[in-house]
Symmetry: D2
Subunit: 335 residues, 4 copies
């Protein structure tokens, strides 16, 4: 019998950190959670005239829904989060430049003497039925359609060491990784740092380019269904993803090569463990067969993924079959 | 009437720099060149017992074939190089770790007090007919097949400003970009810096993972057919690639975020020019539709690509149709 | 009439974060605080046989004393902390390598496949009267004396945005900046993020080289006297230091050039404001007259300082003369 | 009997690369060379109305005087260059911003969509007798004096591996290190890569702040006296400096932490060799006693130095006493 919990936060229930918050719900492992996430602007940017720097107030940015306390989760365990579906909640979405934020601008840390680039908002049409979003240029009448590919930019658990972190920061607890790989059909794994794990989710994008170069995706509120599950006694050093076809390790750091190193290092050592390979043999295998999807190159830490097709690890037991099991549960929900 | 030139360098004709070399051949724009490239080890690593640090001698590493002088090429022009075919020349290929080289080791610049990792060689079986390479673990009997996906790691022209650079360095003249996107069917564009452009090519890989994390791909000698063409009066600020489906801009720098920035900056400004878009509108379009294939994260500069599907630029005139034209020439060669 | 508060924490009163803690004392602006700080190892490393990775337990590292609530401090104000004296509390101090920590080793983020360097402890003799510490090699009988130059590696206030951060992290709230410039005679300025500011202090070093290359200084418990003062209505964007001779702005970030940029950017804009200069004129002045003391190149963020002699700003009113006033108070304490 | 050579290049004799040039003079080891260096603008920026981007033409920037062939110098040897005196040749000097160059601006590699900062020239008065330069603000009448502290930004030998590099690039062959430590009284050591070493010198600064944050120092033509000497059979892996009081190792790389790592790594291993210390003992000694002067944070590679007082190495034989010997020769020249 599967527990199903439905949760739509009121505005004052939204969270702006991982850690330092009381849970909004307590659930048992295996619970299906149907939840709503607001967009990164708190839903305040609705037209091209709603400038984020005017209508939003720091630090009330990038709200997340949660946290959810998973019963029995303890440091040293792994939280498995299967994404059953991610559905844009509106027929529009927005993106913007933001002063001193993004990859092709001076920023708070890459400090320059330039004045900020113009702050502009783009409003996208979202066509769920057709699976499309439509871009409209602001200066001219250029317009193109792109495939809808919904994802969550921000997902994670409470960090360890008594920390709490702004939701905009990605790190080993997850957070604002902003990877297009976090889409429906994926199982995400997070190491548990505090009792209950305290998972939270937000920052839906209808789609996003690699690196989120201007600093924002096609930002949208989402109706999302996940399954929260628990793997006892198995630690996970950095966030990982599993699809039907592939494994991915996620690294978040600066400079970007360190995000690359962290993700590749985890994939190499994980591959060695899964395949019974010597570490240098796994290094070689990943060097030739591995991929490196880019997450974000704009947030306080940058994010890269290291990806390996599961067919290169035919005998691997991955988290005791958790992904396949949760896929099965997800399938049963649709029937 | 198409000129066809065939060139297989003798060992003492191999080049180890871009720039500072006399051309090996002078060709007219539009010439088809059938050439041979030696592998990055100069063909000296043939078994797992041939350690690169023993059998190779610095700076005689990563030889290139060329340079080719293209008649009429002048600074301010663009050299177009269409890759007709890239065919491994042997039924084996090799890869290795190398002391203090690679992404998951201390290096000359990321200097640490660690002794080097073990130097190991892996020998791959190459099955041209089946389109496969086979990996064998060194420590254990693990073995898997991977798809053959031949590419050149090193391609470029002489740099400007009277420089000559080791072939292992990627920069705005091209060089050792080590991107798997440089495969058959692609047209590469390089800005010309010196009369004749002085194009050279080498470092074939049967395939390579993103970033070439251990420092080497599946290294192989190649029989490669290219067409060298010239676009007069059109500058190209950084190497670019065009396929039937997409445009790519290449950035090479450290830290890795600067390679990302350079590639995205060129793609954004190029997109603005091709589509008649405002620069910020192009920034937004690339932010949502763009991809960021990773080249190398191990060489003296790191390399990233920014990629946009041509369907988002339906009206664009790209280098006056050069790619389609060269595709046509290439097709006629097979008949 | 000056308030004087004395506080020596019991071991269970030590704090391991900035933010997320109740204050240990509430003081009025202008209060002199005589406090004790434990060393970064919590005092558990006393001999060369006490390996930090064995005797210390994560996250109980780098304890700080505090936080102190300064009455009336609100976001937007500046906390001024004058360091009257910093006195080693014992006649010995320790330093060590630590697995995967430091600048010349692979780390958690600069992830490599190397095993850690040897973990070694060095025990220094501290001669307060002579103003000297003595280094002894571990492998051989080499020994030299160095000047005592006591400083605090860790000082700061609670961060904003509901965050709490491990004490080992330096950022705009202060934290583990590990700069030898934070010595007696200096006034440090911190922007206030939360009511009461919540200042805490720790990580005393008898001395430290630039960058703290191995990851630790000459670590020591300290008896330290500070004056906590408040400047209402004046914000401070990043930590700053003032001495009798110079101003300094502190930047903490990765990569290291961003720490440089942040510190120089703050010094340039501060100089422009203090001297009534155009920003580019201030940029030029700092470019020729400025210095860049290196803080740490080993912590989660790296730290650099930008320094300008006050003689280049002869008419400047710096925080309304706070430093000179606190110097006066400090002088009166000795009499 | 000391050879003395005097050389003032005509404009068409100036060099713009290290490597790829014929020597202007051949000298015996021990020769005193009295030479003239033009400023980085080739002397074309003489007033605040001479904008570098207008009056200078790429790649004719940052000219050097030389190269000098030192007889008998072979790869594996060390070239010792003692700086006897560095004297500004005019009673004025200039500095400037330059489009997309400097630390607080978007650049070619840290590519942003910002338009360049304003290009401004500052003209300094140089008072040799008083040992002062005078800064004048461009926008307002602010003016201050700073001490004259003449140095050369660019010094080095031909690189190895058949490379030639623009003079603006610092690397292991030297080049545009832009460190204020390269002043009179210093002996610089360079590893020899090609027969004759091919030493060249340029880019004099009347003074410079740490990091040369705006991209240029107080640029001046110089009359400089050096002694070129040779240490046979002793390799030098990266440029080093020696003063009467200290040793310095120089690292040039990006990101800046790698320049730090390279310089510290060389100093640690050199210290171990000089003092007969274990490498980790040397690591510890440098961690507590070492300094890290900042060179440039604006050039194609960034430069940092690692510095250790010689008093910590009382028994060290440093390049067989070369510095003291050349100091003696220099002293004899003045008499």
């Amino acid at each position: 019998m599967t527990d199903i919990v439905t949760y739509k936060p009121s505005p004052d229930e939204l969270a702006y950190t991982f850690g330092g918050r009381e849970p909004v719900r307590r659930v048992r492992p295996g619970t299906v959670v149907e939840l709503y996430t607001e967009d990164c602007f708190g839903g305040r940017v609705r037209t091209v005239d709603d400038l984020p720097s005017v209508v939003c107030e720091f630090p009330y940015l990038n709200p997340v829904t949660g946290p959810f306390h998973v019963e029995g989760a303890e440091p040293g365990d792994t939280l498995a989060v299967h994404f059953v579906s991610i559905t844009p909640a509106r027929d529009w979405a927005v993106s913007s430049t933001f002063p001193h934020f993004g990859a092709l601008t001076g920023t708070h840390t890459t400090a320059t003497l330039h004045p900020p680039l113009d702050e502009l908002v783009w409003r996208y049409d979202v066509d769920l039925a057709a699976g499309r979003v439509r871009y409209h240029a602001r200066r001219g009448d250029y317009s193109v359609e792109m495939p809808l590919d919904p994802m969550h930019g921000t997902a994670g658990v409470a960090p360890g060491a008594f920390e709490s972190r702004m939701t905009i920061v990605p790190d080993v607890h997850g957070g604002n990784m902003d990877t297009p790989e976090l889409r429906a059909g994926v199982t995400a794994y997070f190491g548990v740092n505090v009792p209950g794990a305290l998972f939270a989710l937000g920052d839906g994008h209808c789609r996003q380019g690699d690196g989120e170069v201007c600093g924002t995706g096609v930002e949208a509120a989402m109706n999302t269904v996940i399954i929260l599950d628990l793997i006892k006694g198995v630690p996970t050093p950095t966030p990982r993803l599993e699809t039907d076809a592939a494994l991915m390790s996620i690294g978040s750091a600066r400079p970007l090569e360190d995000a690359y190193r962290m993700s590749q290092h985890d994939l190499v050592t994980w591959t060695a463990a899964l395949a019974g390979l010597d570490e240098l043999d796994a290094y070689q295998l990943v060097s030739q067969a591995g991929q490196a999807p880019v997450g974000n190159v704009c947030d306080p830490n940058y994010t890269m993924l290291a990806r390996l097709e599961k067919r290169y690890l035919p005998t691997a037991e991955i988290y005791a079959g958790t992904h396949d099991r949760l896929r099965g549960v997800a399938g049963s929900l649709h029937s």
